[in-house]
């Protein structure tokens, strides 16, 4: 069989170990698939979405209720976005807990981390585009957090929301960030990240001499596995979209009105929970930044795994990195859970 275009995106063959579900969880590949679904459904939504405060929430209602298959497309976009954050997080944890960040993959680890942050921001801006009353907390509190940063806070706030208040012009800013600025950044980072995967020798496995399993699989088998994952993920996405529609709310009339019950988007629940403890700069900006910094330092300051231990979960030689990431994960999960139940 002659390899087609899609086969050529892959190496002719790879060690079988690199493509084991139980090792990679398929998370990186799923993230690429979800990003493609997001791009496709997002472009379709752009035909109907109006980034204008007076019409935004209503144009979403039009998409959801009146455009043929509009509801399905929007739900697919919504669920792909939520799953992308989840799957990217799982991918990050997989890399940390298998020690795959070790040289020569340090730089790609940072690229991936940057991509993860970019995707969270893109999810956040997309959430704001709903412009209904349920996003008020995120809009007002989230943007006000920027202001608390000493020195450059006000400047950051103004370039983010396009004015002194998070209102009319903010929607257009968020729209442009969502569909252009952040997507451009994410696309560059994603392609670079994928390129670096190949440049760094594929998915982390022990050097050939230390590999217990010398089997290799061809690009044909690899593509088949990817297609299988995409088919299952596609079906799951469609079923999720049918049974759990994306939230739709009442248009914002006054963005300054934040109700007590207002809840942050799920991926920021942990920050919202910390904000209840006091100083918004400390809990809302500094602590999350320290978390991010800790993650970024993992390939540099924590114990590195032995090359022979690559390709398996929880290599003993990199215990300190696993413990650090485990604690961060636990803190974020517990805070999110508290935010969800309070």
């Amino acid at each position: 069989m002659r390899p087609n275009f899609f086969h050529h995106l892959h190496p002719p063959s790879i060690p079988a170990e690199q493509s084991r579900w139980r090792y990679t969880l398929g998370a990186g590949g799923l993230a690429v698939f979800l990003a493609l679904v997001l791009g496709f459904t997002g472009i379709l939504e752009m035909f109907f979405y109006s980034p204008n405060p007076a019409d935004a929430a209503q144009s979403i209602q039009i998409i959801s209720y009146h455009v043929p298959f509009g509801g399905l497309i929007r739900n697919l976009h919504y669920w792909s976005a939520q799953l992308l954050i989840l799957v990217s997080g799982v991918h990050l944890l997989r890399v940390i807990f298998t020690g795959a960040y070790a040289p020569p993959r340090r730089f790609n680890y940072l690229l991936g981390l940057g991509l993860f942050v970019t995707l969270i921001l893109d999810d956040f801006t997309g959430y704001i585009l709903r412009w209904d009353q349920d996003i008020c907390w995120a809009l007002v509190t989230g943007t006000n957090l920027l202001k608390t940063i000493p020195g450059i806070g006000t400047f950051l706030f103004r370039i983010t929301v396009g004015g002194q208040y998070a209102c009319e012009s903010a929607l257009l800013r968020f729209y442009t960030w969502h569909i252009f600025g952040l997507i451009f950044l994410a696309a560059v980072l994603m392609v670079w990240h994928l390129f670096r995967v190949r440049r760094d020798g594929g998915i982390a496995v022990p050097p050939p001499e230390a590999r217990p399993d010398r089997e290799r699989i061809t690009r044909f088998a690899l593509v088949r596995r990817e297609v299988l994952a995409m088919l299952i993920a596609g079906a799951a996405l469609i079923l999720l979209s049918i049974f759990f529609p994306a939230p739709t709310g009442v248009p914002i009339t006054d963005p300054a009105v934040v109700t007590e019950e207002a809840r942050a988007p799920w991926f920021f629940l942990w920050v919202q929970q910390m904000l209840k403890w006091g100083d918004p700069f400390f809990w809302g900006v500094l602590v999350p930044s320290v978390f991010l910094l800790l993650l970024a330092l993992i390939p540099f300051t924590f114990a590195q795994p032995e090359p022979a231990e690559l390709g398996q979960w929880f290599p003993a030689s990199a215990r300190s990195a696993q413990i650090a990431a485990g604690i961060l994960l636990l803190v974020v999960l517990l805070l999110s859970l508290k935010g969800l139940t309070s």
């Binding site: 088919l231 469609i238 079923l239 739709t248």
Partner: protein
């Protein structure tokens, strides 16, 4: 592997077919683009069976959203209803200005008689000022019967009654426990509040308290479609939801609810000492009592008797004078508008109708060529005729013309 791929492809196809099936099952959206807003709304997708609320609010002109609020585009009931004004009742006084207000609607100029909302909010039925003042006076909380408090704070910048404002009555500020008991037990028949839970009392709040009369059937079955009605043909039964609920026992200072279901208007009316002439228990309340009496005249009044002014003589005149009358010469006369809203009478230019001393048209009463009058029941459409006192055998002193003097001869034995 090939089998897995095949099965996964089948799974995807099934999911896609399900999506198509769900899409196909969605109800056909039905749209109305009311001329007043020009904005398409889809409420009738589910509410196509609902009757038009009144001939003066045709759905193709008003639609639903201009009064009810709500999400006009949503086809999901929860979202569509989530931003409705006043729940099912947009005429609740907390939202009435947004729902029913507007220069061309019900908060326009007094000169065009379009100031219903302003008048109602200062009216005694909304402020309950008389009852509050009486109770506070009785229990020593104020030295006289002046109106100080209303249910809500209201202001009247051009007062003709000398009451420029009422503060909101706050029972928690009262020292006398009886006043707190009064607030707990008795404040159930003003326009802001839901009535007590009993079929005889069932009514809406706000404008709909009177203008959406509820039949027994409607009360029993909750909120069926025939509740979606606004009318000026208000039967006495609707007034009775407040005005025939029971009696206050002065010895125990408690309110005793009626235990029976009143059937005879004459026998079952609640005040044992009240006297009634035939027209008072035959006609409906709104056949004599006017818009200003019921909905206020724009001024804040201290109690009910200050706003009630229609007497027997308003229609019957006195021995020396006929009732005040007006011959209709202007096709834009308010009388025609009111007769259009409730077409029990076929008023024509040149007809002579009775007007009250304050100039309000009694548009359902017309002078006949023989000098007698015909009156059409606003709620019943029944035709009645009556004569003026002038020229009759009545021997009443000309300076004793209030209704209670008429009752002395004309009241029916109860």
């Amino acid at each position: 592997m090939r089998l897995s791929l095949f099965l996964a492809a089948v799974l995807l196809v099934i999911a896609l077919l399900m999506a198509a099936w769900v899409e196909n099952r969605r109800p056909q959206a039905l749209a109305v683009t009311p001329s007043l807003t020009g904005e398409t709304e889809f409420c009738i997708t589910c509410h196509a069976d609902l009757n038009e609320i009144s001939p003066s609010h045709p759905v193709e002109t008003f639609g639903c959203v201009i009064c009810h609020g709500g999400e006009r585009l949503a086809l999901d009931a929860d979202l569509a209803h989530s931003s409705m004004r006043g729940g099912a009742n947009p005429s609740d006084l907390s939202v009435v200005s947004e729902s029913c207000g507007g220069e061309q609607c019900h908060s326009g100029s007094p000169a065009e008689a379009r100031d219903h909302i302003q008048r109602v909010q200062t009216s005694i039925q909304a402020t309950y000022a008389g009852a509050i003042a009486n109770m506070r006076y009785t229990y020593g909380a104020q030295p006289d019967l002046n109106a100080i408090f209303g249910i809500q704070a209201v202001q009247d910048s051009e007062t003709a009654t000398g009451i420029p404002a009422l503060a909101a009555f706050d029972p928690t500020q009262e020292n006398n426990p009886s006043l707190q008991t009064f607030a707990e037990n008795c404040l159930y028949c003003h326009l802001y509040v839901e009535p007590l839970d009993r079929q005889e009392y069932t009514r809406f709040t706000g404008c709909a308290a009177c203008h959406t009369p509820l039949t027994d059937h409607a009360k029993q079955d909750g909120i069926p479609d025939d509740v979606h009605t606004l009318t000026t043909a208000i039967p006495y039964t609707q007034c009775n939801t407040c005005h025939n609920r029971g009696n206050y026992d002065l010895r125990s200072m408690t309110f005793t609810e009626r235990a029976d279901h009143p059937t005879s208007r004459l026998e079952d009316y609640y005040q044992p000492i009240a006297q009634f002439t035939q027209c008072e228990y035959t006609l409906d309340c709104v056949d004599c009592h006017t818009r200003q009496e019921a909905m206020g005249d724009g001024d804040i009044h201290a109690n009910q008797k200050d706003i009630e002014y229609v007497q027997c003589q308003t229609c019957h005149g006195t021995l020396e004078a006929l009732p005040a009358m007006q011959t209709l010469t202007d096709p834009n006369d308010l009388a025609f508008r009111l007769a259009f809203l409730n077409p029990v009478i076929n008023l024509a230019l040149g007809d002579t109708i009775i007007v009250t001393p304050k100039g309000e048209p009694l548009w359902n009463i017309r002078l006949l060529p023989d000098g007698s009058y015909e009156q059409f029941g606003k709620a019943t459409g029944h035709r009645f005729t009556f004569r003026s006192v002038m020229g009759s055998n009545c021997q009443q002193n000309v300076d004793e013309q209030e209704s209670h003097y008429c009752h002395e001869c004309h009241a029916v034995e109860r």
